[in-house]
Symmetry: C2
Subunit: 153 residues, 2 copies
DNA sequence: TTTGAAAATAGCAACCG
DNA sequence: CGGTTGCTATTTTCAAA
């Protein structure tokens, strides 16, 4: 098993990042290879850890979750990040958590049903976390793109 | 076709957001329903727009893309966002674009192979965009969570 | 990497509660 | 009317070339 990805792998990734539920026979057809090869390459890329999994892309607003908010968090001490992240992970509305450097120490994304829900979650579940010094928030008005880097090259 | 999602729909979403490539027979087994029902519910949720699609979760660092950077962008005038977003979408390394309010006008996520690549991309493709007044950036050291809100309730 | 064949799954139609 | 069952076409998966 070769470790480096080639053009065929990239082509498979492009197709499946656009629709992870596309069946491998169709992927094979579009990539100009046999279905067996698609299966093999996918197993290889999963084993390499290049592919971590597959997930659905959901429209939360259509499910009644109207708010998407990003929070940039400053810590009292940078070394507290591990503890703070642990606590953040306990909040179900928190869907992304990045340990970061630059402007903020921790950067997260949360979903809320409405502004009431958001305020409550913000005040009761985020601000109360020990070690957080400050938070800057910005509400997403609209997601204009959610895509992958292109593998064609 | 009922418009509201029920417990069964939520259970299906939970299973498939964790692994969008799980076959529907397995989903049915775990949700305690028949495969036919899974197909039916999935078609319903796609038609409702609740499910927009499915994608692979990739580990970019394992593909040689070592840097993930978030950029908070201030515009010269808030009304320029449409034009600026158009330009940002032309940059292939830009994978997420949010029109936002609060701290920044536009908020994006980019991937780069290394710091050389990042600097070049930043200076040549981002800073040169007409209408951008300022940019604040923070590098993701580590993604500690990428998940969905939980639908159990 | 492809091919070919067996096992499993998808997708639909007719039926049931 | 939504759910299940059962049937057929398609897909997956593996072994051999």
């Amino acid at each position: 098993m070769k470790d480096r990805l080639d053009t065929v792998d990239h082509r498979i990734l492009t197709l499946l990042t656009e629709d992870a539920q596309m069946n491998y026979t169709e992927v094979a057809k579009r990539a100009g290879i046999s279905p067996g090869t698609v299966h093999m390459r996918m197993r290889k890329m999963r084993n390499l850890g290049v592919i971590r999994g597959a997930t659905l892309t959901l429209d939360y607003s259509k499910m009644g979750w109207k708010l998407t908010v990003f929070l940039g968090i400053y810590l009292r001490e940078a070394s507290l990040y591990e503890k703070v992240i642990e606590k953040l992970l306990e909040v179900p509305e928190v869907v992304k958590v990045h340990h970061s450097t630059g402007k903020y120490d921790v950067f997260i994304k949360v979903h809320a049903k409405d502004s009431i829900h958001y305020r409550q979650l913000y005040q009761e579940s985020i601000l109360t976390i020990e070690g957080i010094q400050g938070v800057e928030s910005f509400i997403s008005l609209e997601e204009r793109a959610s895509r992958h880097i292109s593998f064609d090259s």
